[in-house]
C-alpha cells in the first residue's frame, strides 16, 4: 500500500507526525521486510507516538503492551477467565446434574464430565491479552511493545519465540497461528542492554533529539496557537538547555507541554518572569533547574539574554 518512502512520510504527516527521512525509510523497510522495528533513543522524542501515528495512517488497530519489571506470559499473552468459568458452572448446574443423573458409578460420572471439559477450556473463556489479541485479530494490527527494556530478560526470551513465528501454543487448545502478521514496534529507553537475539530480529531505528527546524515544525503543527515568534524563541531555549549537560534533558513532549503552557498563560514574550515560572515544566530535577537558571543568568549578564525582556 505504500510504494515509496515519500508515501510513508506523507501518510505520517497527515497524522500530524513529522518524520525525518530516516524514520520514514526504516518504517518503509519494516513494512516491506515484515520485520519488527526497534526504536531506541532518549525518552520523549516520539517513539511511542510514531507507532500511534502509523496505526492511524494505515487505519489499523493499535494493540499496546506496556512492559514493566515482572511482566509475564499471563499478563502479556492470555489468561483463563476463572470468574466466567465459575459463573457458567453455577448457571449450568442443573444441566450438569441432569447429565450426571443416570451415571452408574463415580468413574462413569467423571468420564462424562471429562467429555464436557472442552466447553470450559474453549476460546469462550480465554481472556486474550495484547499479544494474543494482535495474533488473533481478523485484520493486520499495529502491535506496540512499549519500553521492552523494562521487562526482565526472561520475558524478552519468551517474546523472541512469538516475534519470529507469530504463533502461540495454549496447552488446552493447541497452537494459534496469526492470520495476519501484526506490524510490530518495540521501544526502548536503553535502561538495560537488550539481548543480541532480539536485536537481530529487528530493524533498528535511533531517534535522537530533533534539530531546531524540525522541532519548530513539530511545535507549529501541534501547538498552532503559539505565536510564531514565541515558538521560535521557545525552541531555541530548549535546544540551548539540551547543551547544558543536565540530568534529564527536556524532551520533545516536554517542549510541547511547555508550548501549551505558554499559550495557556497567554505569554507574549519569553521574559524572565515567564521563564522562571514555567521552567519546571521543562526540567524535572531541582539540580537541573538550578543549573539552567545559573546558565541563563550568565547569558543575561553579557547582554545576550536581554532579547527575552
Amino acid at each position: 500500500m505504500f510504494n515509496s518512502v515519500e508515501d510513508v512520510k506523507r501518510a505520517l504527516a497527515d497524522c500530524q507526525y513529522i518524520a525525518t527521512n530516516e524514520i520514514a525509510t526504516v518504517l518503509y523497510l519494516a513494512e516491506k521486510l515484515g520485520k519488527p522495528l526497534l526504536a531506541e533513543g532518549p525518552a520523549g522524542v516520539g517513539k511511542t507516538e510514531l507507532s500511534k501515528a502509523w496505526a492511524a495512517a494505515t487505519s489499523r488497530e493499535l494493540v499496546r503492551l506496556q512492559c514493566y519489571e515482572g511482566l509475564d506470559e499471563s499478563k502479556a499473552l492470555y489468561e483463563w477467565e476463572y470468574a466466567k468459568q465459575m459463573l457458567y458452572t453455577q448457571l449450568l448446574r442443573d444441566k450438569l446434574s441432569s447429565l450426571l443423573a443416570d451415571a452408574t458409578s463415580l468413574t462413569d460420572a467423571a468420564d462424562r464430565l471429562g467429555a464436557e471439559e472442552d466447553v470450559f477450556f474453549s476460546e469462550r473463556f480465554l481472556l486474550p491479552r495484547p499479544l494474543l489479541r494482535a495474533i488473533q485479530s481478523e485484520k493486520t494490527t499495529v502491535l506496540l511493545i512499549d519500553e521492552i527494556d523494562r521487562a526482565d530478560a526472561e520475558f524478552e526470551a519468551f517474546l523472541l519465540e512469538v516475534l519470529s513465528d507469530f504463533q502461540v501454543s495454549i496447552p488446552e487448545l493447541g497452537t494459534i497461528v496469526a492470520k495476519h502478521r501484526p506490524v510490530v514496534f518495540l521501544t526502548s529507553n536503553n535502561t538495560r542492554e537488550l539481548s543480541e537475539a532480539l536485536k537481530r530480529r529487528c530493524l533498528y531505528l535511533y531517534i535522537g533529539y530533533p534539530s531546531a527546524e524540525e522541532e519548530l515544525e513539530i511545535v507549529r503543527l501541534r501547538v498552532p496557537d503559539l505565536a510564531p515568534q514565541l515558538a521560535r524563541q521557545a525552541v531555541e531555549m530548549v535546544q540551548t538547555l539540551r547543551q547544558l549537560d543536565l540530568k534529564k534533558n527536556p524532551s520533545v513532549s516536554e517542549t510541547l507541554d511547555w508550548a501549551r503552557a505558554l499559550v495557556t498563560l497567554n505569554a507574549r514574550t519569553l521574559d524572565n518572569e515567564t521563564l522562571e515560572n514555567t521552567l519546571t515544566v521543562l526540567l524535572k530535577y531541582e539540580a537541573d533547574v538550578e543549573r539552567a537558571r545559573r546558565a541563563l543568568r550568565r547569558q543575561g549578564g553579557n547582554g545576550h539574554g536581554r532579547s527575552y525582556n
Binding site: 518512502v5 527521512n21 525509510t25 518503509y28 523497510l29 531506541e40 476463572y82 470468574a83 543480541e196 533498528y204
Partner: protein
C-alpha cells in the same frame, strides 16, 4: 557492488560491531526494495539492518563514506576533440619523443604517458603492482589516514615529476609542428584533469588497500577471553577501552540477575490474607493464589582503597561501584587513602566517566600514606548509621596498611553489625601478609574473601556475592 558491501560488513566486524549472517541477509533484502541509486536511502537500509546499537553508529558513519564514497571518475581521452590529422600528429610526436628519450625514460613513464594521453585507466593489475612496490602490502601498512602518503609514493614511482617536464616539451613540439593553439590548449587542459583524476584513483586505491589490511589484521587479533584473564594493571589503552565495555556488559548482566532474583523472591510463602480476599468473588474457592512478596531491599556499603598501590585497578572498581549504586538503591560508597571520603554523591550526580575522574581527583595519590585502619575508624565514627543488619559491606583493597594500626577491633565490630562483610583483594594470596600487608589479620574476620585481579575473577566474585 556486492563485493563492496561484503567488504564493508567485514570492516564493521573488524571495528568490533557485531553483524550476524541473518543481519547481512536483511541488508541485501532491504537493498532490493530501496536500491543503491539513492545514496541516502541506501545508507539508511544498511544502517537499519546492520547496526543495532547506538554506540556503533559513529563507526558506521565513519566507514560508510570510505566504502561507498563517490568513486573517482575514469580518465578522459584528450584526443577525442582533435581532427584526424591532429591526432596523427600527436601520435607521431609522442612516438618521436619516446624514441628520443628512450634511454632517459625511467620507471613506468611510458605507461603513465599512455594513461594520460589515451585516456585509459590503469588496470587492476597495474595498481596491484604499484601498490606492492610502494609497500602497501607490508604488515605495518594499516592506517587509512596515510593513504595520501602511499599515493604520493606511487606517483613518484611512476615518474610524475619527470612527466610534467616531458609534457611541457610535447606541447612546445606540437606548437612547432603547427598544431592549432586551441587544440593544444584543449589537450593540455584535459591531460591536467587526467592527472588529477589519476591522483584521486591512486589515493582511493591506497586507502582501500590499507583498510583491507586493517580488516585482515583485526581478524587475526586475539579474542576477548584473553583480556578477561589479564591483570588490570598490564593493559594497554585500547585494551582498557575494551575492558570498559566488558564492565558495562557485566553491569547489564547484574541488572538482569537482580531482576530475576526479585522474581524468584515472589515465589515465597503463601499469603493467606491476600489469597482469601482475591478469591472472595469466586465464593472463596482459591483460584488465584497469592504469595508473600519478599521485599528485599538490600543495602550496600562499599569501601574502596584508591592509594598508589591500588591505582591501576581503582578505576575498574569505581566503575563497578557506579553500576552497583545504580542497581542497589541504598548504596553508600566511600573511598580512602589516608582518610575516608564519602563519594556517594560523586557517583550519583555525574556520568560514569566524569564520576571516576571526580573521585580520583578528590583523592590524589601520594606516597606511603595509606591508612586503612584510620579510615575504618572514621567509618565507624561518622557513618555507622549506614551499616545495619541488611547491609552488605564490601571492602575493595589490597589490605596494605603502611604499618599503621589495622584497627582489627573496629573492623570486627563493623562486620558483626553488617549482614555480610566481603573483601575483594587484587593481590595474589601468596603476597598476603608480606611486608605491610595486614590481609591475613583481616581475613578471618571477613564472611567472604576473593582474589580479584582480572575481569574473569571479578565477574566470578560478583556472581557469588549476588546469588
Amino acid at each position: 557492488m556486492e563485493d563492496r558491501i561484503t567488504k564493508f560488513i567485514a570492516a564493521l566486524r573488524a571495528e568490533g560491531v557485531r553483524v550476524s549472517v541473518a543481519e547481512s541477509q536483511d541488508a541485501w533484502e532491504a537493498i532490493t526494495y530501496l536500491g543503491v541509486r539513492d545514496r541516502e536511502a541506501f545508507r539508511m537500509s544498511l544502517r537499519a539492518t546492520l547496526i543495532k546499537d547506538a554506540d556503533a553508529m559513529p563507526t558506521f558513519e565513519d566507514l560508510f563514506p570510505q566504502y561507498f564514497g563517490l568513486a573517482t571518475p575514469p580518465l578522459m581521452n584528450p584526443q577525442s576533440g582533435l581532427s584526424e590529422e591532429e591526432q596523427q600528429m600527436l601520435q607521431e610526436m609522442m612516438q618521436q619523443m619516446l624514441e628520443d628519450m628512450l634511454e632517459q625514460l625511467k620507471g613506468d613513464l611510458q605507461k603513465l604517458l599512455d594513461w594520460l594521453l589515451n585516456g585509459q585507466s590503469p588496470s587492476q593489475e597495474d595498481l596491484e603492482q604499484m601498490a606492492d612496490q610502494a609497500g602497501l602490502n607490508q604488515p605495518n601498512a594499516r592506517s587509512p589516514q596515510r593513504a595520501q602518503q602511499y599515493a604520493r609514493r606511487m606517483q613518484q614511482m611512476l615518474g610524475w615529476e619527470q612527466m610534467q617536464e616531458l609534457l611541457e616539451m610535447l606541447w612546445e613540439k606540437l606548437a612547432e609542428q603547427g598544431m592549432d593553439p586551441d587544440s593544444i590548449e584543449q589537450i593540455k587542459e584535459q591531460v591536467a584533469q587526467n592527472m588529477d583524476r589519476l591522483e584521486d584513483q591512486l589515493s582511493e586505491f591506497a586507502g582501500e588497500k590499507l583498510r583491507d589490511n586493517r580488516v585482515e589484521d583485526a581478524q587475526r587479533r586475539k579474542p576477548m577471553n584473553d583480556l578477561m584473564e589479564r591483570s588490570f594493571g598490564s593493559l594497554s589503552q585500547p585494551e582498557m577501552e575494551q575492558l570498559r565495555d566488558e564492565v558495562r556488559r557485566l553491569a547489564a548482566r547484574l541488572r538482569t540477575r537482580a531482576a530475576l532474583r526479585q522474581k524468584r523472591g515472589k515465589q515465597g510463602k503463601l499469603d493467606a490474607k491476600t489469597t482469601l480476599r482475591a478469591n472472595l468473588r469466586y465464593s472463596g474457592v482459591p483460584f488465584e493464589i497469592h504469595f508473600k512478596q519478599r521485599r528485599l531491599k538490600p543495602k550496600l556499603v562499599a569501601v574502596l582503597d584508591v592509594s598508589t598501590s591500588m591505582r591501576p585497578v581503582a578505576e575498574f572498581f569505581l566503575r563497578l561501584l557506579y553500576e552497583l549504586q545504580d542497581q542497589v538503591q541504598k548504596t553508600r560508597s566511600f573511598a580512602f587513602i589516608d582518610h575516608l571520603e564519602d563519594v556517594t554523591d560523586d557517583l550519583l550526580t555525574h556520568r560514569i566517566d566524569d564520576a571516576v575522574i571526580a573521585v580520583l581527583t578528590r583523592l590524589p595519590s601520594g606516597h606511603y600514606n595509606t591508612d586503612l585502619g584510620g579510615s575504618l575508624r572514621q567509618l565507624e565514627a561518622k557513618h555507622l548509621d549506614a551499616v545495619d543488619s541488611r547491609t552488605t559491606v564490601i571492602v575493595l583493597g589490597d589490605g596494605r596498611n603502611n604499618f599503621n594500626d589495622p584497627a582489627l577491633e573496629t573492623f570486627n565490630r563493623i562486620g558483626r553489625r553488617a549482614r555480610k562483610l566481603i573483601w575483594l583483594n587484587p593481590e595474589y594470596p601468596a603476597q598476603w601478609g608480606t611486608g605491610d600487608s595486614d590481609m591475613l589479620s583481616y581475613a578471618p574476620l571477613c564472611s567472604e574473601l576473593y582474589q580479584v585481579r582480572n575481569l574473569a575473577q571479578l565477574t566470578d566474585a560478583i556472581d557469588r556475592i549476588l546469588v
